[in-house]
């Protein structure tokens, strides 16, 4: 019966994604800790203060998450894909505020913060909800 269940789960999961995404990633303490760090970095963004060092902090925590997941190897493709949109959002922000002569715009910062709050909350829910 257990063999049958294993075959059944294989068949069900293969229907969700291609063969490379067959098996989901599982719970990981370090990934869970780091994604909450990312959320905390975003929550603490103060749009009246200089933006660059705050964006660098978020960017570094996301880079840590990606490097750790890549180093861990197989079956981490799902969480790397999950954080990619957030990384792109932060990269655009970083590129803008690190341009020479840039002047911080607090309205842009407030909106970027709102988008990232939403993105990171969704990502954290998926990462912490794993088996």
């Amino acid at each position: 019966m257990k063999k049958l269940l294993a075959i059944l789960s294989f068949a069900l999961l293969s229907g969700c994604a291609g063969i490379t995404g067959l098996i989901p990633s599982f719970w990981d303490d370090n990934q869970s800790h780091r994604i909450i760090n990312v959320r905390l970095d975003i929550e603490r963004v103060d749009c009246k203060a200089q933006q660059l060092p705050q964006v660098v902090k978020i960017r570094d925590d996301l880079a840590w998450f990606k490097l750790y997941s890549e180093s861990k190897g197989g079956r981490q493709a799902d969480v790397i894909l999950l954080t990619k949109p957030m990384t792109e959002t932060v990269e655009d922000w970083h590129k803008r505020v690190s341009t020479e002569g840039h002047k911080d715009n607090s309205i842009y910062c407030d909106l970027k913060k709102r988008v990232l709050q939403e993105q990171s909350a969704r990502a954290a829910k998926a990462i912490l909800g794993r088996f």
């Binding site: 257990k2 989901p24 309205i107 842009y108 939403e118 993105q119 829910k125 998926a126």
Partner: protein, 79 residues
């Protein structure tokens, strides 16, 4: 889609994710129209909202796989 339609979606209680997303589009568009954002900032923010959809899809995929693994494990314990 007009801003009026977005206001209607933002006010709905039955789909909170859609209401949140609509509220964001409204906030971004209003800031652009009012001069709070320049064109490149506005386009970048809109691109971020598209990215949010990609993130939603990936998150739902992980959650579904987790549910399946959990269900199979639970059944295996019973059988």
């Amino acid at each position: 889609m007009s801003l009026q339609t977005l206001y209607e979606i933002a006010g709905r209680d039955d789909h909170p994710w859609a209401a949140t997303r609509a509220a964001m589009v409204i906030a971004i568009t209003e800031q652009y129209q009012g001069g709070g954002l320049d064109r490149s900032e506005y386009l970048e923010m809109m691109q971020d909202l598209v990215r949010m959809d990609a993130l939603d899809a990936e998150a739902s995929d992980i959650e579904l796989k987790t549910m399946l693994v959990t269900a199979v494990y639970a059944v295996a314990q019973v059988v």
